[in-house]
Amino acid sequence: MRTYVAKRLLLIIPTLLGVASLVFVIMRVIPGDVTLLILGGDQAGRIDPAQIAAMKRRLGIDQPLLVQFGTWLWGVLRFDFGTSLWSGRPVVEELLIRLPLSLELAFAATLVSVLIAIPCGMLSAVRQDTWVDYVIRVISIGGLAIPSFWVGILCILFLVIYFGWGPPLEYTPPWVDPWANFQQMVWPVVTVGYRYAAVTTRMTRSTVLEVLREDYIRTAWAKGLRERAIVVRHALKNAMLPVITLIGTEFAFLIGGLVVTETVFTLNGVGRFVVDAVARRDYPVVQALVFLIAFGFVIVNLLVDLTYAWFDPRIRYR
């Protein structure tokens, strides 16, 4: 077990190094010069070249790419992600302003959807090919089909038309005013959570179906156990394994969900920060955010793999 964890931790290094190089290269390949954007528009002819050079020097992007990459990586090792080219403030500082909102959105959406999805998925599997199953399947397949930004647009349409409500401009943390926070976050949570709930329901359904065909379940039936005991005590625990994997794989989608949901509701969160930073060619911001998201993804997946052993004693890591 210990060697397994050590091996997995070591494998994180090349992955993150790869992500770091990839995002660095991608950002430099994207056409559009950040200095021109800052100095105003693409009409390069009207801007003094000396001014551009001075700006480049000030931003530190006049050095060779390899030097820039090295400086950046060295900074990352010391948890220094540089400063935003636009605001001049440290990236970490900018990030911390936006993080609470995105974290709340992500956690609330995950929690609500898992609480709804697991019972629904179980029910759907136990009553396979009945109307209950069909209703749950149609609703959950719908959750995968309806684009989350459209759910968001519909929420806004509905609220604007019937309540004259517009999305508030400033984020109120739950510890300041829980009710204002709830009002602000409930629709974004629905928007992000619908997809999450749909995916989890489907996964729960198919794994419970699979487990219900196992020999030990037949034994349980033969012993004369009641259905509730069989499903909840015998089937569910073994069916949870792939569902936990989902939490890892859905992490990537969650980020995507945050990006579009925050754009729709004009929330000032991490997701919109990334989109804006890509559009403004704010290299340090994009690099830092992608790196941190990838780091989160890798760690979440490692934790997911480790919880396998806890849920399934047959699994032993070497």
Partner: protein
């Protein structure tokens, strides 16, 4: 559960079921998987609309009519008109072309490339496997939508560039799934037998491994189709997919549509329904196809 299990079935000489013709297979699919058949019907309808958009669309999707902006849905304009006075119904119909094109090409390209990498990785093993797996790790850890977003901004807004941006994030996912299956196929005695007979590597891979990983490949392909259409819509919505005035569903929802919410909700309503219905059809079909192809999920 109540029926006793005849022991004959446990022996290797159990009689095989009669082979069905294609028409019979289709009929059986429709009978046993009504939801899947419904999905197929939606896909078929979407294809027909895309194919015959010129004949079916009542108006030119590109031509605006400034005397007729924000017209309510009526007999003349079933889905109303948008801020330039363009017919929303016609634009939704032409939008089916973009959605299907991006969906099919991107998921086919992504799954095929990923599948091939997965087979190569599993069959060659060793260093090749190690390097390819690390590469896939990197692509997987890179947030999907942001990767697509970055690729789309490198290539610029155009339909064929969107295809590339949507396809690349599919590659590592397909590679993972196909590799896992290929690894277990490789261990089968018949592969060993063919190798012992002196078959070339190419022959082993193409004739014995690839056909046996087709099921997960097809499942992956149908599963990604809906997702690809969604990613295209999201990219266009964020302003990095197809560019105006192309009638793409995501683009029709972007920018101005939500701000006209009070005045003309239909502008945001119908393209969204089109996306949802299309992806819904693909998912229903893919789901049932998986149930049909995966023996573990068959009803006993």
């Amino acid at each position: 559960m109540s029926a006793p299990y005849p022991l004959v079935h446990a022996t290797a000489s159990a009689p095989l079921g009669q082979r069905l013709t294609v028409a019979e297979e289709v009929l059986k699919f429709v009978r046993t998987k009504p939801l899947g058949a419904g999905g197929a019907l939606i896909i078929l309808g979407m294809m027909l609309v895309a194919l015959f958009a010129e004949a079916l669309a009542p108006y030119d999707p590109y031509r605006g009519d400034y005397g007729l902006q924000f017209a309510r849905p009526s007999v003349d304009h079933w889905f109303g008109t948008d801020e330039f006075g363009r017919d929303v119904l016609s634009r939704v119909m032409y939008g089916a072309r973009i959605a299907l094109f991006v969906g099919f090409v991107a998921s086919f390209a992504g799954c095929t490339l990923g599948g091939l990498l997965g087979v190569v990785s599993a069959y060659w093993g060793g260093k090749v496997d190690l390097i390819l797996e690390r590469l896939m790790d990197v692509l997987l850890a890179f947030p999907q939508l942001i990767l697509a977003l970055a690729i789309a901004s490198i290539l610029g807004p155009a339909v064929q560039n969107v295809v590339v941006a949507v396809a690349i994030p599919i590659i590592p996912r397909a590679a993972r799934v196909v590799r896992a299956t290929a690894l277990s196929v490789k261990e089968n005695p018949y592969v060993e037998a063919v190798q012992a007979l002196g078959a070339l590597r190419r022959r082993v891979v193409l004739r014995h491994i690839v056909p046996n990983v087709m099921a997960p490949y097809i499942i992956m392909l149908t599963a990604q189709l809906g997702g690809a259409i969604l990613t295209e819509a999201a990219l266009s919505y964020l302003g990095l997919g197809t560019a105006e005035p192309t009638p793409s569903w995501g683009l029709m929802l972007s920018g101005s549509a939500p701000s006209y919410a009070e005045k003309a909700p239909w502008i945001a309503l119908f393209p969204g329904i089109a996306i949802s219905l299309g992806v819904f059809g693909f998912n229903l079909f893919g789901d049932s196809l998986r149930d049909a192809l995966d023996p573990k999920l068959r009803k006993t």
